[in-house]
Assembly symmetry: C2
Homo-oligomer: 321 residues x 2
């Protein structure tokens, strides 16, 4: 069923706004930022075949498109405010748009934020662009540049399951039944760690979300902070499904997995207990996986005292793959 | 020359921020909104082959991608603050990115706004997503819903040249030399009417920018305001190049042209002189082309007293073309 552009916007995405002064349907949306707060802004573009497979259920895709953006707010310790959506697709079909909007807006509702503007257009493949806005008190945002020598390095949740699912789709690995459902859900339905990001304000010294693989994203923190890092691979949290794979696959998925959308953050070692309490208050498991060292040490990963060979592992790059 | 994603962001788009607290390169950008102002937000997605031709010079494309977003701020009477950029493209090539960034950032500089965040990724065709943010005092935004019976209807600049250029590219019309250069520039380098939008705050009763053709965009205003309109086609501003075309082409280009990015606005008839003075203060020509009538009158277009047949004319729809 083909719908006109304006019809489909109205049908699936236009809802009465509660927080905003004006929502979808004028040239601009109008928001009421809290006076004195800084505005945190992030944008992500998801392209079919690059960031998601055409086999993904539309409801999950709607969830994920917003989740990866909320994950950026989480990594900054910002409280979500509103978002815009751009959609480009070959055909405007109800059987896609209805569940896509449902997944997207359910996650928005869970975080109390509104879709305030958008653009839909034809195009050869499905592209989903979201820009999310949040608020943070001045000086309280979590940055990549705040890691200090001696800090502990933490990750939330567990890593690598999304990569496992991707390798199953690629045919490199075989998983069936519940195990496949679990890792597929990790890939298609990531949980943005918004509550954890808020709880870590004033405690974490730096943060980033793990979207391109831990090593690549940690690299951003190390460069921005001018420090090095030692990681203990044995301390990395992982699912039972990943733990059942070969050492090679575990290392690959944990260190370069991508699509995890967990938070990687640093905090002073003396605040170890505070980190655990804050994470518990956000109902989010966290694990200490290493520590920040002097920059000349670079990045060292060991497993039970033995250096792990990082050759052949590299961060995901959308133009280098 | 192929570049990695992070390299190309840094090389072409990362500049020191002046107004923002934090620019490109962290999970979120951090802006400092003016306390008490509303935040105006708009987003547009441009797809190669739909919104621009592959023959457009990259510098002009960079200009246009931001211009169409600034045009939405203009139509809301908002003052530009900052923008984000998402790019999807088959290859990251310096010969495209360098001039694209130059055109984009030159227009940003002209309006004193900064690129504060972005995302670049591979994809089958070039897609450019921009989200722009601006500020407007509460209650002062120009909306589509404020037109009242008796108001005059105005347009800025002149209409239809962008459509002429498109028809030349399509082979339906023939133009050469300076005439073609002129209409091609209208299509590829629209001027966002930001200053006019600001000058019309408190004077105009409604406004919209003309992106999908005058009739379609006026239709949004009429529906949102619950009114009708009478237009005098003879009063429409047009270039000498368009005026030299057939009556049929003039009507088509003026009424359904699209890609004009001029402002269509209404204002009380007794404020006619104020409109002219405000437009002059913004160095923007404006013309009164009709008036707002009761909703049951619908939309009537006449030319020197004779009704113009609107059958066969329709607004551009990205999924209906």
């Amino acid at each position: 069923m083909a719908l006109g552009e304006f019809d489909l916007i109205a049908r699936y995405f236009k809802r009465p706004v509660k927080r905003a002064a004006l929502g979808v349907g004028d040239d601009c949306a109008l928001l009421r930022p809290t006076p004195g707060q800084q505005l945190a802004v992030s944008t992500d573009l998801l392209v079919e075949g690059r960031h998601f497979l055409s086999t993904v259920a539309p409801e999950r895709l709607g969830h994920k498109a917003l989740a990866v953006n909320l994950s950026d707010l989480a990594a900054s310790g910002a409280s979500p405010l509103a978002f815009t959506l751009s959609l480009s697709m070959p055909r405007a079909e109800e059987r896609f748009l209805a569940p896509f909007a449902q997944g997207l807006l359910a996650l928005a509702d869970a975080h109390g934020i509104e879709l305030v503007g958008g653009d839909t257009t034809g195009g050869p493949v499905l592209c989903i662009g979201i820009t999310v806005m949040g608020e943070v008190p001045p000086g309280h945002a979590l940055l990549r540049s705040g890691a200090r020598v001696g800090d502990e390095i933490w990750v939330s949740g567990h890593l690598g399951d999304a990569r496992l699912a991707l390798e199953v789709f690629r045919g490199s690995l075989s998983l069936t039944g519940d195990a496949f459902d679990h890792v597929r859900r990790a890939m298609e339905c990531p949980t943005p760690r918004v509550e954890l990001g808020l709880a870590l304000r004033g405690i974490a010294s730096s943060a980033i979300d793990i979207s391109d693989g831990l090593l690549g994203d940690l690299g951003h923190v190390l460069r921005a902070s001018g420090v090095g890092a030692e990681l203990d691979l044995a301390a990395f949290p992982r699912s039972a499904i990943l733990a059942a794979q070969s050492d090679d696959w575990q290392r690959t998925c944990l260190l370069t997995g991508g699509d995890d959308y967990e938070l990687l953050f640093t905090a002073p070692a003396e605040r170890h207990e505070e980190v655990l309490l804050s994470a518990a208050s956000a109902f989010t498991p966290v694990h200490c996986v290493g520590r920040v060292v002097a920059p000349e040490r670079g990045l060292v990963v060991t497993q039970r005292g033995t250096p792990v060979d990082l050759a052949g592992l590299s961060a995901f790059d959308h133009f280098k793959s």
